[in-house]
């Protein structure tokens, strides 16, 4: 690193420190710490939502998957924008905001708990977030760390430790105000870097149409040629093994959809597109942002900013991910991206450092660190508040003087757990995208029917909500442990109990857990609610009337 790079890094960290300090100075109450006081500027809110939504998991993890599986991932970008921004802000944002104010809710589980007058729901939600979110957090940590390793040529473990320490500092100090202010700054850096990246990549591959046309040629030369190779002759997890696997799954090229209802189609549509695309609606760290603005106008304005931001993030990185195959083919002895970088998660970091000028790699470093930190800080904040507000306060009582301390201790504990998982999971193939998809699917299956019903269906009852969350938890867990092809095999519990990798066989093992669990969870909510006594008119009035 030269002196200029050192100075810029120090300035960046100083600005983050300053924004964390501003958040700290403005944090005078639990509402400030938990929901940023409820008066956040729409620009800050939208960029914070977007920067939290788009992490290194999206850029490094899913960008790498795009290099592997191609532009079929653009379906996820469509869902990210249409469902994750438009539907979320236009249809869920304001009802969530208003109900949050009426019920004085400060966290997502607290909103659900108070809507149904149930401490159990709040605690259950808090416990689930505490258990499952580290999975997603570890994915984000791995993504950011991989780039630090590629850029600085440092030890993976050291890079992981440094990033965790920095994020811990400003989450502990500033609460959600500090988190959102730093998110907004990081969102701007991410946006600028992505726009530059798009222009430079199209320039490097000879233009838009030329680049996409070359992709077909590269597929034919480097992947289709594997058609005659036997899978058993390839080393499991190697680049050629992964490309051959994609062909066996029904992929036909980077510009084409996999064969309809093939394993690849089910993976792209049910796990990647629907699992992540729908799962975003019930992300605790994102839902809480709706409660940070003072009016619907802020949400309306955030739709504009959020839509542009998301297409500039996932739209660009998925297209760039696929096009890296062209660049590598032309500049690295006829190899495709996976063959050159060595693995799905390594493609984007390797490409940026190999193909882009040094100055841009440095800018992109900031974009990726920003993406990682903005998501991590929100995740740690959500996990800390789940422990402090949703679990501890429900046991120890409201207004407990130790509540904020417990939240901060909870953040530290969750950071340690997440970092530990990032150490353990690092070598797993495509772990970043998979962990993200699992967490999003879990959130959708467990929380979405209760969240939707709570906002829009007055007849939904507490027992209906609890039954729905229980069914979502049980079915999703069962599917991951005993049915889904990758998780069931790697977790090994099915093998240990029944002697087989999965209880079912065939294409159904490629269907994402959410596709099964969410309808069952929603059906349970409806059936049990109709079978049980409606909630009291006083509670309904408190939830729905000003």
């Amino acid at each position: 690193m030269n002196i200029l790079e050192n100075i810029i890094i120090i300035i960046y960290l100083a600005v983050l420190g300053y924004l964390g300090f501003v958040g700290y100075k403005q944090t005078k109450s639990s509402a400030d710490y938990l929901i940023a006081g409820g008066d956040t500027h729409p620009f800050v809110m939208a960029l914070s939502y977007g920067a939290t939504f788009i992490s290194t998991a999206a850029i490094v993890g899913f960008g790498g998957v795009a290099a592997w599986l191609g532009n079929s991932l653009l379906w996820l970008t469509f869902c990210n924008i249409f469902i994750g921004v438009f539907v979320a802000f236009v249809f869920l944002g304001n009802p969530t905001r208003k109900m949050g104010i009426r019920l004085n809710a400060h966290t997502f589980p607290e909103l659900l708990g108070r809507r149904f007058n149930s401490k159990f729901i709040q605690m259950f939600g808090g416990v689930l977030i505490t258990i499952f979110m580290p999975l997603y957090t570890s994915a984000v940590l791995i993504g950011g760390t991989e780039f630090l390793v590629a850029y600085f040529k440092v030890d993976y473990h050291l890079a992981l430790l440094v990033m965790s320490v920095i994020v811990t500092g400003y989450v502990l100090a500033g609460g959600l105000k500090g988190v959102m202010l730093t998110d907004a700054l990081q969102g701007v850096i991410m946006f600028v870097a992505m726009m530059i990246l798009l222009v430079m990549v199209f320039d490097a591959v000879g233009g838009v149409d030329v680049g996409f046309t070359k992709l077909e040629h590269v597929w034919n030369e480097t992947v289709a040629s594997l058609g005659s190779v036997n899978m058993k002759d390839l080393k499991a997890g190697s680049p050629d093994f992964m490309m051959k696997l994609s062909m066996n799954w029904g992929f036909q090229g980077w510009n084409k959809m996999p064969v309809f209802l093939s394993e690849g189609w089910l993976f792209v549509i049910t796990t990647i597109t629907m699992g992540v695309g729908i799962g975003v609606l019930a992300q605790p760290q994102l839902v809480v942002r709706f409660m940070t603005v003072k009016s619907k106008n802020e949400l309306n304005r955030a739709v504009l900013i959020g839509g542009v931001f998301i297409i500039a993030m996932t739209g660009i990185i998925f297209i760039v991910g696929a096009l890296t195959n062209v660049w590598y083919y032309e500049f690295n002895e006829g190899k495709n991206a996976l063959q050159s970088a060595g693995g799905v998660g390594k493609v984007i970091p390797h490409f940026i450092n190999a193909a882009m000028p040094k100055w841009f790699a440095f800018i992109f470093l900031f974009a990726l660190i920003s993406a990682a930190m903005s998501t991590l800080s929100s995740q740690f904040h959500a996990m800390g508040t789940a422990i402090g507000r949703d679990v501890f306060e429900q046991i120890a009582g409201k207004h407990n003087p130790n509540s904020l301390l417990i939240t901060r201790v909870g953040i530290i504990v969750m950071i340690v757990i997440s970092v530990s998982l990032a150490y353990v999971f690092d070598k797993q193939p495509a772990i970043i995208a998979r962990s993200t998809a699992i967490f999003f699917a879990l959130c959708a299956s467990i929380f979405l029917p209760t969240y939707f019903g709570g906002l829009f269906w007055k007849r939904m009852t507490k027992k209906g909500a609890i039954a729905s969350m229980a069914v979502g938890t049980v079915v999703t867990t069962f599917w991951l442990l005993f049915v889904h092809f990758q998780e069931a095999k790697e977790l090994g519990i099915c093998k240990m109990l029944f002697g087989v990798n999965t209880l079912l066989s065939g294409k159904i093992t490629f269907v994402d857990a959410m596709i099964v669990a969410l309808p069952l969870s929603a059906l349970t909510a409806v059936v049990v609610s109709f079978m049980t006594k409606p909630e009291s008119p006083a509670l309904i009035k408190k939830c729905f009337e000003d």
Binding site: F78, K98, F212, N255, M257, K296, V303, I311
Partner: protein, 55 residues
């Protein structure tokens, strides 16, 4: 984008159309909300004790 097949091409254009929808919606509704006055006067902390007691 002539090299995309129908499935990928559809995703590409839907992605752009949904981003455009977000921009148009944001511009049209930039300052349209009239509910602001109803809820903005409420304080987050003010009613905490009463609501906890009620629930």
């Amino acid at each position: 984008m002539g090299t995309f097949d129908l499935g990928v091409g559809t995703a590409f254009w839907l992605m752009n159309a949904s981003a455009l929808l977000c921009v148009i919606y944001g511009v049209v509704n930039w300052n349209k909300d009239k509910e602001e006055k109803v809820l903005s006067t409420k304080s987050w902390d003010r009613d905490e004790a009463r609501i906890n007691k009620d629930l």
